[in-house]
Amino acid sequence: MNVDFNTAAIVAIACWATGMLLSLLAIRTPALKLPGMVFSFAGSLVMAGFIAYYWVLLDRPPLRTLGETRLWYAALIPLVGFLVEYRWKIGWLKYYCMALAVFFLGINMLHPEVFDKTLMPALQSPWFIPHVVVYLVGYVLLAASSVTALHNVYLQLRSKGNVSGESVSHYLALLGFVLLSFGLIFGAMWAKEAWGHYWTWDPKETWAFLSWLAYLGYLHASRYKIDQGKLQWYLALAFLVLLVCWFGVNYLPSAQNSVHTYTQS
């Protein structure tokens, strides 16, 4: 099983690396643009295929452990980069996205998980997949938003104006916020069915609420007359709250009683 993951990961990383290289070369040699796209896309396809294979093998959606969620991020984040390039003709985001995907796969290769097929009764629910998938896509968009904002901050520091970049980070944050709201509410409704109450201030819930508030704050600040340039700092850093929510909660003193801690390998 480990061997399979490593093979898939290495093939995906090789595809992305080739794709990035070809895309960079394509700036000089336009003919390389298409092969670059094909290779970049193939990397995500390999990961998607592995997830599907893994799903069948485990007999349950591979969404239970942190390592399993990283597989999904690795497959999906580059796609956001390609989508942004396709939609807004902004090419640099995909490099960050692919690098991030390689980073996630790298973590999984260095820390192989204990593979466990069991799924505790509370997770056996029709809410499981929508709740986690909505959050996953939301996090992916917000990660891309944060990376875009970081890039905008870098351009600002070099005193380059960048209005289109700011609108990309804004819309990604907006879409991410919509998905966070859905994830939060789906989670609440699932909790009502599984644990009896929709909100119990479980540490994970509290942090999900905090990350939601962070982006709620951003949307209002951006709506009010606050300089969009300054808000790039905010967007770049807001993702840190999401990171705490995603896996930092496991290490907080409040986590002892949480129902949400991911299975530790």
């Binding site: 709201s181 704050g217 409040s254």
Partner: protein
């Protein structure tokens, strides 16, 4: 360009005044909490909380509509104060998200400030109440006069207002009780988390049968000296079935035969048995270097000793799988004689006369032989209002998503 710096409290008020206001509200909350020795707030129950909430809502709406051009009211319903109050709620949530929310020694400073039950204390209540006022004012201005283009704003903000206010004002009416029942018996007594004194329920629950299904057992190597369980090389949780192989340093194990339910038989060979009494048995071939042997191992049960295979200082053991599902077959009956038969399962609660019944737990020491089932019964009369709020937020969000996309089309 000349930058004119606003002085404090120069109209129109903005962030500085809002931040100060929020900070004062937070401090006031902590002072009240300290003065009342961290007792928190005891909210009134139905119908008084519903009356209080209605009065509050009417008050906010009429102030919003009656004084919509008064600078102080405009500020109170504006984004700067809203943002500062959101920040205030975030700070309190941060405390609640980092520190364990549990009982601490009473009399200590953290206990008096209520930081270990932050979400039921005065600072949180005050800030949320002010936030509801802020949100309500801004909502009143978008509600009247009504415009279709404000629909997204109204759905999201009104939904949030309803969900938040009803969740908080209604929390006093939430009843959660645990009913322990043994097979073949009925009970109408529930226990709260706080007290050992049972409370009578308006219905009784009879437990016909409790059953638990497990995942297949697992093979592990046990080291009694360090009291550790060693996982095999592949780091895979090994489900025992015919043909399963496992390896540890120098030890190879092959499962030759597997019986999910059996009892000890003559000559040490187990015989298949009924699921209600039998336990899993596996015949394994253990190879260490040149030597090879076969043995029967089992998980054991409360009545049967587990069989392990000794390998020098280590033991090859089979541990029962984790619970896959557990359910209680019950009959619920109220005092008028209305009765319902149901299967309670995790994630599959059953409704009965405004109550929801949940499969909560069982005697974990007895595992699948448990004769005891823990049923949680919950009543939350405010739930429909909170869910209405949730659906409005989601509807607003779909519109938000849609207009966001549309505006992108314009921008592009």
């Amino acid at each position: 360009m000349v930058v004119v710096r606003r002085r404090w409290f120069q109209t129109p008020w903005e962030f500085r005044e809002s931040a100060l206001f929020t900070a004062v509200a937070l401090c006031l909350g902590f002072i009240i909490e300290y003065a009342t020795s961290g007792a928190g707030i005891a909210l009134p129950r139905l119908p008084f909380n519903a009356i209080a909430l209605s009065v509050f809502a009417v008050l906010v709406l009429s102030i919003g509509l009656g004084f919509r051009n008064t600078p102080a009211v405009k500020w109170f319903g504006g984004i700067p104060l809203g943002l500062c109050l959101i920040f205030g709620i975030a700070v309190l949530s941060l405390v609640g998200g980092i520190l364990p929310q549990e009982a601490v020694r009473s009399g200590s400073l953290p206990a008096r400030l209520g930081i270990h039950k932050i979400f039921s204390g005065w600072p949180f209540a005050l800030v949320v109440l002010l936030f509801l006022a802020n949100l309500g004012l801004s909502l009143s201005w978008k509600l009247i006069p009504f415009k279709v283009q404000n629909l997204q704003f109204i759905l999201f903000h009104a939904g949030f207002w309803i969900a938040l206010s009803c969740a908080i004002f209604g929390s006093a009416d939430l009843q959660r009780l645990v009913v322990p029942i043994e097979e073949g018996k009925a009970s109408n007594l529930g226990y709260t988390m706080e007290s050992d004194t049972p409370q009578p329920l308006p219905f009784s629950v009879f437990l016909h049968d409790f059953s638990l299904e497990e995942y297949p057992p697992q093979l592990l190597l046990y080291d009694p000296h360090s009291d550790k369980l060693l996982m095999d090389k592949s780091k895979t949780t090994l489900e025992v079935r015919k043909g399963t192989t496992a390896s540890w340093n120098g030890i190879e194990v092959l499962v030759l035969d597997y019986m999910p339910s059996a009892l000890p038989g003559e000559g040490g060979i187990p015989q298949p048995a009924d699921r209600s009494t039998g336990i899993p048995y596996a015949k394994v071939r253990i190879s260490t270097g040149a030597t090879q042997r076969e043995a029967w191992i089992s998980t054991g049960s409360p009545k049967l000793r587990p069989d392990a295979a000794q390998l020098g200082n280590l033991y090859l053991i089979m541990v029962p799988g984790t619970p896959k599902s557990f359910r209680s077959a019950v009959t619920v009956q109220d005092t008028q004689g209305h009765a319902v038969m149901a299967n309670l399962e995790v994630n599959k609660p059953v409704n009965f006369k405004g109550w929801k019944l949940y499969q909560m737990g069982y005697d974990e020491k007895a595992g699948r032989w448990s004769k005891l089932s823990l049923i949680e019964v919950i009543r939350d009369p405010w739930l429909p209002a909170v869910y209405l709020g949730f659906f409005m937020i989601m509807a607003g969000n779909i519109l938000f998503f849609w207009t966001g996309i549309k505006r992108k089309e314009v921008a592009a």
